[in-house]
């Protein structure tokens, strides 16, 4: 059924459809309406879940970590400084291999205070061992939440479903709310391999030594390094699992396609703009305009940022003249993290082939600065005419 609602409601409906049964949250703009909505569902009895209004984001993720360890399908959401305050728990959840799903409603981080959108919050959590998915519209938000639970539980790795604060979270647009029946078919009940129980006592996340050690049965158990290696290795293989999930999703719901990338007019493009989230949809308008001028451009949204779909990206961009990365975050002192990752993937797969594109980097929309479509047109056009700068260029900077 199609409804017109905002992005936070799309996320909340997704969580409800997935039957998450422990939800913990702490208010932070622009995430708040999402978890408020969930508290409504729970209090109204539309959702059979426990809703814990915790006293901090650190505790919100603590509740989810413990609930998941005890066998519950758990959910939380946050933004900006809330996510930063969770950081310790974010790492913990990954190391404990808990299949949590958390919505990150992207917002600029302080200081100074700013409640508007950029993606510095989730990008700063890149190396925590969480899968990161980025959404460009409400359909992707609700679908991604559902796909995320499936994938997280399949690979035992937590997932952040990231979407742009305000631009998506507070904007209303139509989207299809999947049938409960279909969601139940897609997503089986959560049955973890182990859940805390007096019947099968185990001590979880104990101090783990640098080296391997014999267990009580006389078998060799891992050391810390093996446990962490497995997290990395299975992050990598989760790319293939995500593709399996995407296909399964498409079979049941009749939509979806490429799990990692969302290309638009890229096939014959000589220049391809790349980004995360809603900016890639806005770039489509710029691409349409430049196409009318005869410039062969396309745009490609990256939906999976971690694990990084390096091979798919390199293969999609092979032989392009230029790649222009638009980012709402920055690795201060260098460039956008996506630009760095992308260059690394291109180098890895295309160095020496003569098909290595030139990569340029634009930084836009920091702290919610309006990204004018005309600015995207101008910058994209300029980038097709030659290198604008070796440094990342800030769009709309008024210095």
């Amino acid at each position: 059924m199609h409804i017109i609602e905002n992005g936070n409601v799309a996320a909340a409906l997704g969580v409800k459809l997935c039957h998450a049964n422990v939800i913990a949250a702490y208010p932070i703009t622009p995430q708040t309406p999402l978890t408020e909505k969930l508290s409504e569902y729970v209090e109204a009895g539309e959702m059979k879940a426990e809703y814990i209004p915790v006293e901090s984001e650190h505790s919100a993720l603590a509740v989810c970590i413990a609930a998941s360890s005890a066998g519950a399908r758990s959910f939380t959401a946050t933004s900006a400084n809330g996510l930063l305050y969770m950081h310790e728990q974010v790492q913990w959840a990954a190391g404990a291999r808990l299949p949590l799903v958390m919505c990150v409603v992207n917002r600029a981080v302080g200081a100074p205070w700013n409640v508007w959108n950029d993606q510095q919050d989730s990008i700063s959590q890149r190396d925590t061992g969480w899968i990161q998915m980025y959404c460009s519209d409400h359909q992707q938000i609700i679908d991604s939440v559902i796909k995320a639970y499936w994938l997280a539980e399949k690979v035992s790795i937590p997932i952040m479903v990231c979407y742009d604060g305000y631009i998506l979270s507070h904007t209303y647009m139509p989207f299809d709310v999947p049938d409960q029946e279909k969601v139940d078919k897609f997503l089986p009940p959560f049955r973890p391999d182990y859940a805390l129980s007096p019947e099968t006592p185990a001590n979880l996340n104990t101090v783990t030594l640098p080296d391997v050690r014999i267990d009580v049965k006389g078998e060799l158990a891992h050391g810390y390094m093996e446990i962490r290696y497995l997290l990395h290795e299975e992050m990598r293989t989760s790319l293939a699992v995500a593709a399996e999930g995407e296909k399964r999703f498409a079979d049941i719901f009749g939509r979806g396609g490429d799990p990692y990338l969302e290309p638009y007019l890229c096939d014959d493009a000589q220049y391809v703009a790349v980004g995360l989230g809603s900016i890639t949809y806005q770039l489509r308008v710029a691409v349409d305009t430049l196409r009318k001028e005869g410039i062969k451009v396309g745009v490609m949204g990256v939906r999976f940022y971690r694990p990084f779909p390096d091979e798919a990206i390199a293969s999609a961009l092979k032989g392009k003249k230029g790649v222009i990365v638009y980012e709402k975050a920055l690795s201060y002192g260098y460039e956008g993290a996506l630009a760095s990752d992308l260059k690394s993937a291109l180098y890895e797969y295309l160095a020496g082939t003569g098909k290595l594109p030139v990569v340029q980097n634009f930084v836009a929309g920091i702290g919610g600065r309006d990204i004018k479509t005309d600015d995207l047109i101008q910058t994209l056009r300029a980038a097709t005419k030659g290198r604008v700068s070796i440094q990342p260029v800030w769009i709309g900077l008024k210095l």
Binding site: N21, E50, H58, S59, V63, P201, A202
Partner: protein
């Protein structure tokens, strides 16, 4: 009223294995061992980093026979809330959730989450085992380190500030049950746990834990030192049941006796207090005396 447990009636089942990494003569090991007897088999534990993390064992071996979730330092009570929520949705109402955290993990870094959980009325038992310092990291001061104690980061002057009264903070949350216990009085601890297990909301236990390396006494004197803290009226055993304060066990008897052991004996039993001067001890003695004068008056 439940009958008082004696050594002979104390359950014999053990939930802790021998051969732990706890220090020789560890006071926590005594309180923990007896505490788990009271909690029983149907318990899920939550433990933040602390001496107990070490006592509990290093992967892949656990020293405790109960299921346990190790959590981050500041998140103990929140994690307990998460387990409770799960048990609720699973319809399991026979499982007790018990958090065991140290004094740093409670009075300092864990206080926010604990206060939040207590305010929400999360139905679990929280144990703060108070060895009065960050012993696991090598004896640094914590919020509950007493005035005058030399620690690794109050090396010459000793701690200059008062001990934080965490049970009073928790009592201010209007809990159904708050208890102050000591490793030197394990049966009192056992009975108090049994007493509160079916009470609603968060139950808070503060347990005074003698620590040989942290306090500076010969391991064999652990119980004696713990007992001295009580007999001098320096650390009191009590319970607050729905707001009603009552001294218990040895502290209750002290009211009848009207005679406290001079606190000097307690201070002189440990090297951490070696810098306390006679004047300082006299000042503390007079604080203790006036506290007890109130207890006596209440008793009249």
């Amino acid at each position: 009223m439940q009958a008082k447990t004696t050594i002979l009636s104390l359950p014999t089942e053990e939930f802790v294995h021998p051969g732990t990494r706890a220090c020789t003569g560890c006071g926590l090991a005594i309180a923990y061992r007896v505490g788990l007897k009271a909690l029983g088999k149907d318990t899920i534990l939550v433990v933040p980093p602390s001496c107990l993390t070490v006592l509990q064992g290093l992967f892949p071996i656990a020293s405790t026979k109960l299921p346990c979730l190790n959590v981050t330092f500041a998140s103990t009570a929140a994690a307990a809330s998460g387990i409770l929520a799960t048990l609720k949705v699973q319809g399991k109402d026979n499982i007790q959730v018990a958090a065991w955290a140290g004094d740093g993990g409670t009075s300092d870094i864990g206080l926010q989450a604990l206060s939040g959980a207590a305010e929400r009325g999360e139905n679990f038992i929280y144990f703060c085992y108070d060895n009065e310092g960050y012993m696991n990291t090598g004896v640094q001061r914590s919020g509950t380190t007493p005035i005058g104690a030399v620690t690794a980061n109050t090396p010459f002057k000793g701690k200059l500030q008062q001990k934080k009264d965490v049970p009073a903070i928790m009592a201010a949350h209007n809990l159904s049950y708050v208890a102050a216990c000591s490793a030197a009085y394990p049966l009192d601890l056992f009975d108090k746990i049994k007493k509160c297990m079916d009470m609603p909301g968060t139950k808070y236990f503060h347990i005074h834990i003698p620590c040989p390396p942290g306090w500076g006494y010969d391991a064999r004197y652990g119980i004696k030192v713990g007992r001295l803290a009580v007999e001098t009226g320096y650390y009191d055993l009590y319970e607050i049941v729905n707001g009603e304060f009552k001294l218990t066990a040895a502290s209750e008897k002290l009211v009848e006796k009207r005679k406290l052991v001079p606190v000097r004996e307690y201070f002189r039993s440990q090297s951490r207090f070696k810098i306390l001067t006679d004047e300082q001890i006299a000042a503390i003695q007079s604080q203790i005396d006036s506290k007890w004068a109130k207890y006596y008056k209440k008793d009249e």
